[in-house]
Every structure is written in C-alpha cells, then in structure tokens.
Amino acid sequence: MSINAEDIRLRGHRCCAGCAGAIAERLIFNTVGKKAILFGSGVCVGMSSGMANLPKLTLHFSGNGGAGAAGIAAGLEVTGRGDIPVIAMGGDGAVSDISIGQVSACAQRNDNILFFCMDNEAYMNTGVQYSTLTPFGSVTTTTPRGSVEWKKDLPLLVAFHHVPYVATVSPAYPQDLVRKVKKALSIRGYRYIHVLAPCPTGWGYDPAKSIKVAKAAVTTGLFPLYEIEQGKLKFTVEVKEQTPVKNYLELQKRFRLVKDKEVNFIANHIRERLNQLEELSKITI
C-alpha cells in the first residue's frame, strides 16, 4: 500500500527524525480524510501545530482525555452536523495519567468520539519522564535506576466500560492499523484505539530501527494486536513464532539496567497476560 501525494499530514512537522508516532499519525489521518474535526494532540507532534490540515482545538495535557472532544461532538449534534467524525488524540501522559478520569467518563457516557492514545511510554515531550504506561525496567529521568512497576493495561480498562470498539495497533503493521481505523470510523459511540509509538529519542535506539522496534513489540507478545468489538476480543495479527523478549530489550538503551533474572520475570509476565487475553477472548466483555 502507499500513501499518495495528497497526504493530509504535512511535511515539516517538528517530530524527531524516525518518530514512529508520526508514522502512525500519517496512516491515521490519511484514512480519516478531510471531513473530520481534530481535538487534542498525541505524541510530541501535537505540540507543533500544522500536524494535519483539519480544524483543530487543543487544550493542555489535563484536557486531552477527551472531554473537549465530547463537547465538540455534542455541539455538532445539536447543530445538525453529527455526521462529522470527531478524532481525539492524547499521549500516554495525558490519557493514562492526568486525564484518565475523562477517558473513563467519556467511555462510560459512550460519547461519540474516536479516541487515540499515542503511547510512547513516557512523558516524552517534557524530556522523558515516567508515566503509568512506562514498562517495567525502563530508565527515564524520574526512574534513573529503572522502573519497578508494570505498565497499566489501558485498552482492557477501557474495554470494561463496555464501549462499542477497542483496538491496539502498531505502525509496523500498517494494513492492520488502517483496517481498524476504517472500522472505527464506521461505528458510532465511543471508540478507543491504543497506538504503540516507539520513540528513538526516549527509548534510545537508532531512528532507522523504529519499525523494527514497533514490530518486535508485537512479536515478543509485549504488545499484542487485537480488537474488541461489542465485547468480543479477537487477535488480529497472529504471531506464529513468538520472539524472545531479550531481543526487544537489547534494541533499546532504556532497558540497559534490566538484569538477566528480570528478563525471565518479564517473559513470565508476558505469558500471563497473553493467557488472560486468551481467556477473555472466550467470553463477552
């Protein structure tokens, strides 16, 4: 597949070279098209305006959990323009930390917005500080010895609000990503897509490897790709042979302090979580 010259997402944005969040956003905006309203900003890219040639309203991080988007959706509804999609974006800091209340409430109210969490696993734009979506063993400026907590399972948390659609995507799987965005656009109500956005600057790898990292996150089982539609969980990318998590950790400087025995710890955690998801796929959430 290729993105053509009519690219909605314009060149000259101020994201780092190799930003995988930028790759994901290009795919998202080219799928969404010109008839949409954008709220908020995900990944550091949001801090530079001109991300996409769409009408846009941004509040600060504390407002990026979707409340403003819910307001836009309400305003469109009462002025007879409810067919215009409202796209909301927030980084993991905004979505999982400071504005998590809004995520929960918008989901519970089933506000008619398509919400993207652009997860680069730390507060990157302010210089790599720990967030509640930072994975175990990461070095950040506020966890200089490596973090000791597990990353929150935010997509599942949202799914338990019984919303119409939840999905996880990685820019290394563009067809899967685009298909999920298209599906989400066709549904009304609260839709949540969690985007893994590898960050060469914060994760510590050669920018050229962004797609390799985004792929390894999936093949190690750390970031499984699935969708939950009306409570039914389905894995959308089958990982035929799971790769050892050590390969993923070794790619990134942020995991340089992870000891060998902790690698097993992480591998076990991956196994447990995949089992959980397997079990969940057998019932309706």
Binding site: M1, S2, I3, N4, A5, D7, R9, L10, R11, G12, H13, R14, C15, C16, A17, G18, C19, A20, A22, I23, R26, L27, S48, S49, G50, M51, A52, N53, L54, K56, P171, P174, P200, D206, P207, A208, K209, S210, I211, K212
Partner: protein, 91 residues
C-alpha cells in the same frame, strides 16, 4: 511596535495557516537516502513507513523530497531489495 505592525493579528485567536511545511526540516539531517532505481521494486513500503511523507512513487520512479527528509534511515532499513543506502550528507 504599533498595532498596525502586528501582521494582521486576527480579532480572535485562530490560525488558518495550518501548514507545517513552512519549516524545511531537510536541514536537520546529516545522512541522506540514496536510491538505486534499478533495484527499487516500487513496493511502496518506504512510502508507507516514512514519518515525514517525503517518499513518493511517481511514474514508477521513487522520489524523495529532500527539502523535508530528516535522514532517519527507516526507508533504507525497511527496503526489501536494499535499493536505498544512507550516505553522508554533503555540506
């Protein structure tokens, strides 16, 4: 500085100039992608994976917009036929 010099500050704050491409980010790079058109399969993977959207296939030729290419190297890394090589940017 008088009000007339404020460069048409709108009566209320909005920006119609949503054009990020006013800053030519090509100046950021220290390495640039060099294309071997013969090896290029026109598969479009580089077009898909470029964070800047500077790779385009037009009339079966892969073009890079060097005004904006930041030299990240993803295209070279992902090219299945190794048709792209990152070389040092010349001054």
């Amino acid at each position: 500085m008088s009000e007339e010099n404020w460069g048409n500050l709108p009566p209320c704050p909005f920006n119609k100039d949503i054009r990020a491409d006013q800053s030519k980010t090509g100046s950021w790079r220290s390495i640039r992608p060099e294309i071997n058109q013969g090896k290029c399969l026109k598969c479009g993977l580089c077009v898909t994976f470029c964070p800047e959207g500077v790779a385009e296939i037009i009339d079966r030729v892969l073009n890079i917009d060097y005004d904006y290419c930041k030299g990240c190297g993803i295209c070279a890394e992902e090219c299945p036929s190794h048709a792209i090589k990152m070389v040092s940017e010349v001054a």
